[in-house]
């Protein structure tokens, strides 16, 4: 281990200002932020998208993304002001004394090289270690990070290991030169909760063991609570507040910080219903020879919300494809109001199509960027309800009002809308068909917490007003608690458990539900420690 003076300041950022170039002009991204980090300390940076947290994290390494520039302030790393250094001078720090762990490990590894070569590349380049020595140490790191087959996993290529493993290997890569500072940029955001637990535990351990200072960037408070000693909240490129982790969680000062908790505070009382509007019966489905769904049975009560929970690859979106007729089941059927629906989209009547509508995760790609809001919403309204001219326009305005937007939006293009507004337009498009069942596929996953809250409240109100029945597909347990009446837990193409929300969330649980529920991070800084103890790691 390097000789590190405990408690001395490693990084000090003073009044940093960064601008980014877009739409033909410079915009302020970071508006005078101060930051201090001691050796061996972990600082959590949290905020919503656009808060400037990634820009600030990269700036801590003296790096700005193409199209960005530093317009003021200092970045003092161990006594050297990085803003005054050239790129070739900073390269001596990068991959040596400071390293970076990116959000998407899958995209951040070079597909052309073996993992161990990438893990040790910067260490060997910086001349810190000889190749054999660096390889041996990388294997030791793989072992410490609980990777399977630590001796041989490095011989693989990035596409040959899973996302969670890649994220851990990237942590090994960041640790390999034994740096003074690691910047973790949303390292677990793309992972499933059960994988996230392992990765968080591995990262926390290794940072502690080596006494490395870290900046941990995330939008998820409960994750940062496990990792950071101190938390700094950012908004619109400015600091909102900063405090020690426990203090911040217990008594946040600013309203904005409190609002970051908000989605967790929606609690919907569940309601039972006897009338079943939609039923998936004994469905088996395949992608080619791959068995995606195995004997799926799901009942959707009228005017209620059934949440479909599971990790990526569990088959929950495939259920939606079967219900909508995009994928024909091999065995089994879908019944709507006790009448069997034709298995494929082509066989269904206009009326049957109209009754089941879908809303997608990525509002961006679910809308044609060349169409105005009017074009997008009016198309199903004229196709299904046969409206034209002034009536059609009236209906579009009515739909906009239902989603809390006004007439002024009618001529806008999707690129002129915010993420939350885009998702609202997608909701309006689904409503335009006068559906009875709406399938929501991860509709809030790409949105910030506060925006999520707004969308969930809107969906709740629409359900009441229009007596809609929802199938709500999500991997996020907080969302499930906020919106559902009933819950279906899925794993590897099978239904693990199904029942009222209160039943699913209270023990005893089947093994998988237990694993899933216990893996959801809680707003308690001791949660990870306790969980690992309970699981006997």
């Amino acid at each position: 281990m390097k000789n590190k003076k405990e408690n001395s300041t490693l990084l000090q950022i003073k009044n940093l200002k960064i601008e980014g170039f877009s739409d033909e002009r410079w915009h302020k991204i970071i508006k005078g932020v101060n930051l201090e980090l001691k050796r061996g300390e972990v600082l959590g940076l949290i905020g919503e998208s656009g808060a400037g947290k990634s820009t600030l994290g990269l700036a801590a390494m003296g790096y700005t993304q193409p199209g960005c520039r530093i317009t003021g302030g200092q970045i003092n790393f161990d006594g050297v002001d990085l803003t005054k250094r050239t790129d070739s001078e900073k390269r001596k720090y990068w991959g040596n004394r400071m390293t970076y762990v990116a959000q998407s490990a899958a995209a951040s590894f070079n597909p052309a090289h073996r993992l161990i070569n990438q893990t040790t590349e910067s260490t060997i380049r910086a001349g810190l270690k000889k190749q054999n020595e660096a390889f041996d140490e990388a294997r030791a790191l793989y072992d410490a990070l609980n990777l399977p087959n630590p001796e041989t996993i490095g011989e693989r290529y990035p596409h040959q290991v899973s996302g969670g493993q890649l994220q851990r290997i990237m942590t090994a890569m960041a640790m390999s030169p034994n740096p003074d500072l690691i910047v973790f940029d949303e390292p677990t955001t793309a992972l499933d909760v059960t994988t996230q637990v392992e990765v968080l535990a591995a990262m926390r351990d290794i940072v502690k063991t080596y006494g490395t200072a870290a900046i941990y960037i995330t939008h998820d408070l409960s994750v940062v609570a496990q990792m950071a000693d101190r938390i700094k909240v950012l908004r619109y490129g400015e600091e909102v507040e900063e405090a020690m982790t426990r203090k911040m969680l217990k008594s946040p000062k600013e309203d904005y910080t409190k609002s970051l908790w908000s989605v967790r505070s929606i609690q919907k009382p569940e309601k039972k219903s006897k009338d079943i509007i939609l039923e998936v019966k004994n469905v088996d489905a395949f992608y080619g020879s791959f068995h995606v769904l195995k004997n799926i049975n799901i009942k959707l009560p009228l005017g209620r919300t059934v949440a479909l929970v599971g990790e990526s690859g569990s088959g929950k979106s495939t259920v939606a494809r079967v219900i909508t007729g995009l994928l024909e089941p091999k065995i089994g059927s879908v019944k709507f109001k006790n009448r069997e629906l034709p298995p494929s989209l082509k066989g269904r009547t206009k009326d049957q199509l109209q009754k089941i509508q879908m809303i997608y995760q990525m509002a961006d790609v679910a809308m044609n960027p060349k169409q105005t809001v009017y074009d997008i919403i009016s198309r199903p309204a004229s196709f299904f309800a046969g409206l034209t001219g002034a009536n059609l326009r009236k209906r579009v305005i009515e739909l906009l009002e239902q989603i809390d937007l006004d007439e002024s939006f009618i001529d806008r293009y999707p690129s002129e809308l915010s993420g939350g507004q885009k998702q609202r337009i997608c909701i309006a498009r689904a409503l335009a068909a006068n559906p009875e069942v709406v399938i929501c596929d991860e509709v809030t996953s790409a949105l910030d917490q506060i925006v999520q809250e707004g969308i969930l409240k809107l969906l709740g109100r629409l359900q009441k007003d229009l007596n809609l029945s929802y199938i709500f597909i999500t991997h996020d347990i907080a969302t499930v608690k906020a919106i559902s009446d009933e819950v279906v837990v899925m794993n590897e193409g099978e239904v693990v458990e199904q029942g009222l929300k209160s039943e699913i969330f209270s023990p005893p649980h089947p093994e998988y539900t237990e694993l899933l529920l216990s893996s959801v991070p809680e707003m308690d800084p001791d949660w990870l420690t306790d969980l690992l103890k309970a699981r006997n790691y």
């Binding site: 990068w94 070079n110 052309a112 910086a126």
Partner: protein
């Protein structure tokens, strides 16, 4: 079997199938050429009986499909038939085997193509990498402008300009690239220098710009930012992190241009009076020497298919997802 071997064999099979269809197209297209060889050789005054006998002798009276199979089976064994030319009305037969006619010409063509390729491919790769490294710089813009200029002129114009400067005004190279089988190697290189330069100027732009674009396209990838943040220099990023992932599109464009060097050089051959396959084919079409035309066309098809197959294989073996499956 390793999936890469399987994919390569699949591509090979597809290549052979393509060749089969192309051979049918070549044969049918030539069937449709206007005019009759017998009539053309024997003259308008020939008696219908004489023409019919002549056609029978050449096997032209048989149905088309039988002639196709005779030809195709022969071609597989390396026999492209006997040239029609060298015969005349008096019945004298000094006709040659098509293979013997094509072989020396093909050798010349391949020699010129290889020479142009040996200059052009490394040149465009190096220029492509350098322009990617210094993209949007003055150097980048100059190279782009220069290569675009040379590709924008017709080949014969480029050829005459080179002749003007390097053969007429300064007598460095000969303006005629007349070689024969007795020309020695050094002399051959000297005489084919100007046509090779002409071809180089014509094909560099395409390959260089694709190399540049493929690399720059990858520079926006997250793993390039990762490489930067691990302290890699710009040169290292381009050579070690971008280039290995850029071979597939580059190889495709190189194959395309190399194929052009073999099948598209007839204009350059004419300007420099170079005895290549292109000229031979044009002459054969003029004299309705069907077996020679068919032979040349078949060789061109094989060249195209083979080079594209090689590009495909390069694309496969440089893709770790295919080379190292899960």
């Amino acid at each position: 079997m390793h999936p890469v071997v399987k994919t390569v064999l699949e591509r090979l099979g597809l290549g052979l199938a393509t060749l089969f269809f192309v051979s049918i197209i070549i044969f049918s297209a030539i069937e449709m050429l206007p005019g009759d060889f017998g009539q053309a050789i024997l003259g308008q005054a020939a008696l219908p009986e004489t023409v019919a006998a002549f056609r029978q002798e050449l096997g032209l009276d048989k149905p088309a499909y039988i002639r196709y199979f005779d030809w195709a089976l022969g071609a597989i064994q390396g026999d492209l038939g006997t040239s029609f030319s060298g015969r005349n009305a008096s019945g004298a037969d000094r006709s040659a085997e098509v293979v013997d006619k094509i072989a020396p010409r093909l050798w010349n063509t391949l020699f010129l193509a290889s020479m142009a390729a040996l200059i052009a491919v490394p040149l465009s790769l190096i220029l492509g990498i350098l322009t990617a490294l210094y993209h949007n710089s003055f150097f980048d813009r100059s190279v782009n402008t220069a290569t675009l200029t040379t590709i924008s002129f017709p080949e014969f114009f480029v050829a005459y300009i080179l002749i003007l400067f390097f053969a007429s005004l300064n007598q460095i190279f000969p303006s005629l690239a007349n070689v024969d089988p007795d020309t020695n190697f050094g002399e051959r290189i000297y005489r084919t220098a100007l046509p090779a330069f002409t071809l180089t100027l014509v094909i560099v732009a395409h390959m260089m710009r694709m190399t540049r674009a493929a690399i720059i396209n990858l520079l926006a990838s997250p793993y390039i930012q990762m490489a930067k943040l691990s302290g890699a220099s710009q040169t290292e990023i381009i050579l070690k992190h971008a280039l290995p992932n850029a071979w597939a599109p580059i190889a495709t464009v190189i194959a395309f241009n190399l194929a052009y060097l073999v099948v598209g050089v007839v204009v350059v051959e004419v300007v420099f009076v170079y005895p290549g396959v292109g000229q031979l084919m044009v002459d054969a079409v003029r004299t309705r020497d069907i077996p020679v035309v068919q032979g040349c066309a078949l060789i061109f098809a094989v060249t195209y298919i083979l080079l594209n197959l090689i590009a495909d294989i390069i694309g496969i073996v440089t893709n770790p997802r295919l080379l190292h499956p899960k």
